[in-house]
Symmetry: C4
Subunit: 319 residues, 4 copies
């Protein structure tokens, strides 16, 4: 390990926002989805968590199940209130019904109030029931406002919609070798002024203490005007590269983690979007090259991008 | 072709985001509306397509037809459910009606539920019908939230609202000649800090292989403070220009494509907006100049911009 | 005039986006509200005008009157349809009414449908009336979606909320004189990283042809970190100033117009905001200085900004 | 004080946006929440205050109480109108009721109209009552649009969600000492490209006149790539520091105020966010150092951030 350290030629950087004490941080630094691998505590959960952003990031199916659950729960809650006040305060309800049927009738009345349908076949009578119904219809309107905000927020949240290759490759490149990862936009989004950064984190033993060192990995092309096809990031492993003299084994021992950061302007959102991901040493393929993932369309009129070939690669001899 | 290549004086650029293999890309690179001329496959359509952005880019008339179709379809769907449960579970429906009349009654009840009008002349009875109606009114509220989001999204989507001349001209300019295109904002929008870039793509034969080369075309003025009148982009064809020694025929043979990119800050949206377009060699007019498109108003109080003259040009002798 | 021209020391700039032909542009260049003084024609009005932005910029009172008019018009329109189909197809309407009463009943039914209140005392019967009511309730929902979008758009539209002094002053400054204008934020908004630019436009006779020349006016301080008190822009009229050797009369003859452009980051909107205004030679006060417009509060705990003193100035002798 | 002034080595800056006249400004310059410590007058309150932004910044509980109050007030207002027109114009109301019961019935009818529930058990009759009800349902829809806008605005308002240590410390640092403040994000937000600035304000006696001088405090690291753990800002008090030769007493006498400004890109909002705060001399702890606030999780899989330790520090000897 000490030898590994001495080999480092390039300057390490200390403005990554991660600490240098390898014993204070646990596991990988960045998750594949780009979030930092951490948990927070010391504040109550409602101060620590933003419900809005939580709802924005939920899977679509979970989001709709959550709405359905919320709707049912509120209706059961109000149904019970109407029931305990007495269903005789709901005009139009058949009082010869069983308890279950009465609760269900209150449930349906509640749902008609919450959604503001208000057919009126059943309607509230008496002060208390009227107050509850009036409150419920306000709650309905407010909930609907919240749901409208959440749905719009989910729709309009700027996202980069980038997919990355599963592996990072060390491929032959210009008489030498290079570290490569590949990305592509998978929606019909259109990114311009795209910029990428690669940073490698190595966990090293410095004087008996495990420290985390970060090195930028210079890219052959780090900015492109338009990102609508695929983009392969190429870090040429020259003498100046922090990876130059390391064997694969040494990189594994140092739990090499490569953090990818992409920033671009998205035309649909008219906003800057960004995406991060990270590759660990387990995802490194040594001696391989990416295969093309776009080609001319059969009729020659347009270019065809094959997204399922994002990770397509074949073995290649390194010099 | 080989001669064409040797003539290139200026450096080609490789960070356009397009590949250099002319055989991999098909047809023109950029469509007139600024999108890249490509299709994607390899992912299911629902992952590849963002419905939100699709709805945002639809023509207004199509958007409203889509809403109408959606509304009708949902109502037919629920009408059939109510019908099969049995219209006798809808209070207030005349049971002596024909089947068609019953389905229509169910349809109208459905529309009253979906829009949450709920007149109540007809209302649900029985567990099953009530559950369906309760679900439908929730669906109505959610659909409405989606529509509100889409309408706001369509409204508020930052757009540059730029129109471009149909042709690019080679016009006399300062004892020599220049490539010119003209643009104007066609709404009462107000762009500031506007920047433009011209890039030419030439398909060349290099050692028997067709490659696509990209060259930036330097502009006389590439940034202006305010874009509220018209703006003519001028690329002076000097010795440094990649177009300098080419005849019109050579440019046609190389399928010359000029990509225009404009970026500006829009005051209405308080956002950066951008627009791209592209001109192919068929749109090149050799030996012509643009005619003025704005003039002092008759009473002398303001400036009058004539948008239908954006492409107005007349023949002009080149030196 | 020819003498005026020769006096110009500093370089004029040609990237303002305005033309240089004084005969093509009419009146002042920029209106006091910052818009460019122009009209557009040559496209149909619905392509030239963005209704959304028009509604966003309307005065609040006009906006609400427009909504009221829209609501009334739509209801009259549908009331007439229901009336011509026959009010006997509206359950619950008293058929012994007069024609006016019947139209009014149809009007109120229409409003209950459009707002989706749907009391149900009156409800549609018959195929045709039901179809119209079903369409109207959809229209109601869509209109409401539009109004929600407009209201949110009006609320959330980033604006700088800057007020400017009515006059520009030539005031004594550092043994010499300076051109000064003053601005302040008038809401509790908080601008950071504020930048200002002054540009003077002079209409000059060059070789018998009237041309418009633009010169930047250098500012003593052109960027400030925080704009929450007032900010006085100071252009020191040194030898390098394009105004240096001109008398007030010459400036008037050249129809001097000073365009002010301010750009800042607003914390409330988390967005860049900007505002422009323009001063013509009629607004120039020669030999005056601004009086302070903020002071320590009586109890010494905070700073008190007096917005009605934004233009407060007194005569001052120039060197 | 005069001695204090002479000691200043570094240049003071005059583009902070604050004035230099210590007698014109009152109390601290910046409040702990980052707002400027000022009040405005001279314009009517409705021009000075943006209701939208006021509602956006209200505490959540206050916001919901405000909505409830608004709802109740509007209903009482319309209940009184219906009552004075005459409740006999409300079909379905029991006319044998007492005045209070009639007003309450009108209140509940009003709430059913405002929320557009419209059960229809009670419905308007007569021209006047119908007009009022029609107006109220429009008002209901507009209010709801406003509330939807406010709720979405509250949700989507970009905020940095940063918490700061309560104290600024002077801690031992590299054989010398440094001024330190610490911050952390307390939600699961993810800030990138974070930048910080420290500015110190000192109130000094210059030639008998109290002036406020501002000095930037250079930071060891002023930009970090990712801010997801904690970040300690470190101003090394070297010879170049404006704080170098001052005793704690002198700094107190000068009412030292340190303004912290942080700017970053937030991934959730895809927007630049910023936060300011300020420390006064009372919050200075001389001779102390921060204790770590994150550690490896027990199972070693992630990093654990302890937000309640943000201000944790212990005494430390200064050189």
């Amino acid at each position: 390990m000490a030898t590994l350290l001495r080999k480092q030629k390039s300057e390490n950087i200390d403005n990554t926002g991660f600490g240098t004490n390898s014993n204070a941080e646990g596991g990988r630094l960045v998750n594949p989805d780009g979030s930092t691998n951490l948990k927070k505590r010391g504040l109550p959960v409602w101060e620590r968590v933003s419900i809005f952003h939580y709802c924005l990031r939920m899977k679509r199916s979970h989001f709709f199940i959550a709405i359905l659950l919320f709707y049912t729960t509120i209706n059961i809650f109000f149904a019970l209130i109407y029931f305990f006040i007495g269903v005789e305060h709901l005009y139009g309800i058949d009082l010869t019904h069983t308890v279950f049927e009465k609760v269900m009738a209150a449930f349906f009345f509640s749902s008609q109030t919450l959604t503001t349908v208000g057919y009126g076949h059943v309607s509230p009578s008496g002060m208390l029931t009227n107050i509850v119904a009036s409150t419920e219809s306000l709650l309905g309107i407010l909930s609907f406002a919240v749901v409208t905000g959440l749905i719009y927020g989910r729709f309009s949240r700027p996202k980069a919609y980038l997919m990355f290759s599963e592996n990072m490759l060390v491929a032959p490149y210009k008489d030498s070798k290079a570290l490569m990862v590949r990305m592509a936009t998978y929606k019909y989004n259109h990114l311009t002024d795209a910029e990428a950064q690669l940073t490698v984190a190595l966990h090293l033993n410095e004087g008996g203490k495990m420290v985390t060192r970060f090195y930028p990995l210079a890219l052959e092309i780090s900015k492109i005007n338009t990102l609508s096809l695929s983009w392969t990031l190429v870090h040429n492993i020259t003498q100046d590269s922090p990876l130059y003299k390391h064997s694969v084994d040494e990189l594994q021992e140092a739990k090499m983690e490569v953090i990818v950061y992409v920033k671009a302007f998205d035309d649909n959102f008219s906003s800057v979007v960004q995406q991060r991901t990270s590759y660990t040493y387990q995802q490194l393929v040594y001696g391989a090259k990416f295969l093309p993932m776009f080609e001319r369309s059969p009729n020659g009129d347009y270019t065809l991008v094959e997204l399922d070939r994002i990770n397509a690669h074949e073995a290649a001899n390194l010099p």
